[in-house]
């Protein structure tokens, strides 16, 4: 089977600071992946490289067979990578449904003149995107909040809304950056179920960063472990749990043993 996304010996440096070093990983379509590691291990920078926020210093980034290294974020998004953020980045002054509708922007066909003259095409498009937004909100269980301002939602629902928005451009790969951070156990369980559901029903490949190990071990079919900017292990949940390098990285045992060059 072909990879949907692949990093090949990707390195990212900021001046002398090493964020990622020689990271190689492959994602197969339709699977649910976890990306774990201690704070500052370079997990989010991998997301940033995949989504075009940073161009890698060296190495390859491929998505659907195409090299996307250094491509503008909006272009990569249009190719089909969606993501959420560690610190929620919603458009707080827009309504919940409008937040999702912004994500349809790139698919819009009406032009400025359509908009200015409120043409039929424009009206049809507005209506259909509102309908699609409602479908996504329903999927995430937010439909009754459609007309609320995004900023007025409770924290847990804001996280869900961010996922709904990320689903707007119909991504093939969805990157979730700590989706359960700040959620209570009930909300975490709900979210876990939702992630499983969206991966199955919408057949989206998911890569998630998470510190909640139970969530990761429960739903991720395959796990990558980063430490100090480098990939130190990959495998199924059980393999990872027993991997001495991983244990060392998390427990902070002697660094020289933990690092696998």
């Amino acid at each position: 089977m072909a990879f949907i996304a692949e990093l090949k010996e990707m390195s990212l440096y900021f001046g002398g600071l090493k964020a990622n070093h020689q990271v190689s990983l492959q994602l197969f379509p339709g699977k649910l992946y976890g990306l774990i590691g201690p704070n500052g291990a370079g997990k989010t920078t991998i997301f940033n490289v995949l989504t075009g926020v940073y161009a890698p210093s060296s190495g390859e980034v491929r998505f659907l067979g195409k090299s996307v290294a250094g491509l503008a974020p909006y272009k990569i998004a249009r190719l089909g990578i969606g993501r959420t953020f560690q610190n929620i980045r919603l458009f707080k002054q827009l309504t919940v449904e409008a937040n999702v509708m912004t994500a349809f922007f790139s698919q819009g066909e009406s032009n400025l003149l359509d908009n200015l003259f409120a043409s039929q095409r424009f009206k049809r498009e507005e209506e259909s995107s509102r309908k699609r937004a409602h479908e996504l909100l329903k999927f995430m269980g937010l439909l009754n909040h459609a007309k609320d301002l995004a900023g007025s939602l409770p924290y847990g629902k804001q996280r869900k809304l961010e996922i709904a928005r990320a689903l707007g451009p119909a991504p093939k790969l969805l990157l979730l950056d700590e989706p359960a951070a700040g959620l209570n156990p009930t909300e975490t369980r709900e979210l876990t179920a939702l992630i499983g559901k969206l991966q199955q029903e919408k057949n989206i490949t998911v890569l998630l960063i998470e510190h909640d190990m139970r969530l990761v071990m429960d739903i991720c079919e395959f796990i990558f472990v980063l430490d100090n900017g480098e990939l130190i292990a990959k495998g199924k949940a059980q393999e990872i749990q027993q991997n001495p390098q991983v244990i060392a990285a998390y427990l902070g045992v002697d660094e020289s043993e933990g690092e696998g060059e």
């Binding site: 989010t44 940033n48 926020v53 953020f85």
Partner: protein, 309 residues
């Protein structure tokens, strides 16, 4: 060649006036991230305070034109500058206390609008107080031409302006980099929140910053009026704006940048007026600004902030 040197001297003299005003812009921006558009009007107030002080002296002690060229003329000019500085410092303090302090927690654009309001207030208030028609700033120091080799002429007022500006800048340098106040001020420009957490009296430091920057503008106002003696309540607009441009050129918030920007701007203006045409002189500042910002988006000495994702 001598023409070039002449232009350079004139440019440095103009640049030193811009520099005094630009320093004020940059210091206030440093502590409050505020573009204090009323700063140019403090420059105007400085000129008028000087003007009325001179009138007052002349009224009580008579007008003795023979003293213009003697050392007492220099002494008198210095006194006028100091009085203006005191006056504008007081004005700056009041301005900060009444208009800007209530907005410490508001969005920055509110501060900006308030600054525009204060600027209009000073301009229209000035028109009310001083009248809208221009006044003639009395001669307090006769222009004595000092001929230098090569036909270059150095004007005594230029010497006064330039040396006063340098002295003020040295004082400022000492204040900002060698004193406790300066350390506090720099801490605030780094982060207002952190500064208050480590026990710096933020309000006091901001107030003093305003007073110093206003005093510098006041001094510049008098110095400007000595060389261009027509003063009116709107005289601060253009020099104020240009000094602001100079501050941005160098990288706003950066004190050395303000000096560099102002010197460059003063020189560029005199060269363009001297060699090309004086009609586009006022546009030049902005042309330079745009070119520099397009090449270096944060100014010549400014540092760039990177958004963290």
């Amino acid at each position: 060649m001598s023409e070039f040197i002449q232009h350079t001297i004139n440019g440095l003299s103009l640049g030193s006036i811009y520099a005094l005003v630009a320093l004020g812009y940059t210091m206030v921006f440093g502590v409050l991230q505020l573009i204090n558009f009323a700063h140019g009007d403090l420059f105007m107030m400085g000129a008028f305070i000087g003007f009325y002080f001179i009138r007052l002296i002349h009224f009580f002690f008579g007008h003795d034109s023979s003293s213009l060229s003697s050392p007492s003329g220099v002494l008198f000019s210095m006194t006028v500058i100091v009085v203006s500085m005191l006056g504008t410092a007081l004005l700056g303090m009041v301005m900060e206390r009444l208009a800007y302090r209530p907005l410490r927690k508001s969005p920055r654009i509110n501060l900006l609008i308030t600054a525009i309001g204060v600027s209009l207030f000073l301009e229209y208030g000035g028109q009310l107080l001083f009248g809208a028609s221009p006044e003639f700033f009395p001669t307090i120091l006769s222009k004595q031409a000092i001929a230098l080799p090569g036909g270059v002429i150095l004007d005594s007022t230029q010497v006064l302006i330039f040396s006063t500006a340098v002295v003020l800048m040295l004082l400022l340098h000492f204040l900002v980099f060698k004193t406790q106040f300066g350390r506090s001020m720099r801490a605030i420009s780094h982060s207002l929140e952190h500064a208050s957490l480590i026990g710096i009296n933020v309000n006091k430091v901001i107030m003093i910053t305003f007073m110093i920057s206003s005093a510098l503008a006041g001094a510049a106002g008098v110095m400007y009026s000595i060389s261009y003696p027509k003063i009116d309540p709107l005289m601060g607009l253009l020099p104020g704006l240009k000094a602001f441009v100079a501050a941005v050129l160098g990288g706003i918030g950066n004190i050395k940048g303000a000096l560099l920007g102002a010197t460059l701007l003063g020189l560029a203006e005199t060269y363009v007026a001297g060699y090309i045409s004086s009609s586009y002189r006022d546009a030049l500042a902005f042309l330079v600004l745009i070119v520099v910002l397009l090449l270096r988006p944060s100014g010549i000495l400014g540092s760039k902030k990177i958004e963290k994702v």
